[in-house]
């Protein structure tokens, strides 16, 4: 545990404003749906969806690394927690989603 993390609360509010800002940005994008982002298809889905997913992953990173303190744990603990998710979740998504696309194409 790094001690300067516990002196003062400014870093908590900093992360809060980042999370709030990113969420507001997502909601605004979802409400107004800029035509360019909706009509540009990249890797099988709208560019807008890629932006949503990237912003979500950034938010998740902030929550896990600062709020859950994982960024300040020992490296061994950090990677024990993160690696299973990094390996298994994309694997699962790849298999199940490509199967979904295939099932749609033969229906």
């Amino acid at each position: 545990m790094s001690d300067n993390q516990h002196n003062g609360n400014w870093w908590i509010w900093k992360v809060f404003w980042i999370l709030l800002g990113l969420t507001t940005f997502e909601v605004l994008l979802g409400m107004f749906k800029p035509e360019f982002l909706v009509n540009t298809i990249f890797l099988g889905t709208k560019l807008l969806n890629h932006i949503f997913i990237i912003l979500t992953l950034i938010k998740a990173g902030y929550i896990v690394l600062t709020f859950m303190h994982l960024g300040f744990e020992k490296k061994s603990l950090k990677w024990t927690i993160l690696l299973p998710a990094f390996v298994l979740v994309p694997y699962l998504l790849f298999i199940i989603l490509s199967e979904g696309v295939h099932v749609y194409s033969i229906l």
């Binding site: 979802g30 998740a60 929550i63 020992k74 603990l77």
Partner: protein
């Protein structure tokens, strides 16, 4: 001992490679399994959505209402729910932070606010559910019927947000228990507030899951 020291350097934490207490480690292990569970749910949702992409409802055309406001307000209510949960995550970090400093009164204050946030979120979800169940033009949304599109959409909605909501509910129960313990001086006598930290991990995880549910149910 010098051998331990060399070994310890490689692992950073010495002969305790993780340098984390048993309880905290077990909470993390539980959260890994829960991460995989929720990933599987959302992946299954994605499967059905790709499979039935022609008849899949657009979430923002389904959830367009806001309490006491007339007209269509897509995303507004769910944005409020997201805000409530992020806010309760912040109050939780503050409670953990003051726990490290052994400031009992402030821990009580911020824990109480976190509990209020959790209850507000659950109430919002109840409103969202009842509105969805009420349906469209007299046709209710249930597990076998869905006036907005494919019935599976309703199934996934009830199952995933329900499972998440149950996590929030369990979190509120845990928070109330540690609030009572804090008031009863249990952690003062123990000399540390690590239990607040462990429940905090769980509470942030609930927020983390909501971030993904929000994206994949309402935005994408």
């Amino acid at each position: 001992m010098s051998e331990t020291a060399t070994y310890g350097k490689a692992w950073e934490g010495g002969d305790k490679p993780y340098e984390a207490s048993y309880g905290k480690l077990m909470m993390w292990f539980f959260l890994i399994t829960d991460t995989l569970t929720f990933s599987a749910f959302l992946a299954a949702y994605g499967f059905s959505r790709f499979k039935f992409q022609d008849v899949w409802p657009v979430a923002e055309e389904v959830f367009t209402h806001f309490p006491f406001l007339h007209g269509e307000h897509p995303l507004l209510f769910v944005a409020l729910m997201t805000f409530i949960l992020i806010m309760s995550s912040v109050t939780m970090v503050l409670a953990v932070n003051f726990g490290h400093k052994m400031q009992k009164d402030k821990v009580i204050l911020w824990l109480s606010l976190t509990i209020i946030g959790g209850i507000l979120f659950l109430a919002s979800q109840a409103w969202e559910w009842s509105h969805f169940i009420h349906g469209l033009d007299g046709v209710p949304a249930t597990l076998i019927s869905n006036p907005y599109g494919h019935p599976l959409f309703a199934d996934y909605f009830f199952f995933i947000t329900g499972f998440h909501g149950f996590h929030v509910f369990s979190g509120v129960v845990l928070l109330i228990i540690i609030l009572i313990n804090t008031i009863k001086d249990t952690y003062e006598k123990r000399g540390h507030y690590e239990m607040v930290e462990k429940v905090g991990l769980y509470w942030h995880f609930v927020d983390l899951v909501w971030v993904f549910v929000f994206t994949f149910f309402y935005l994408v």
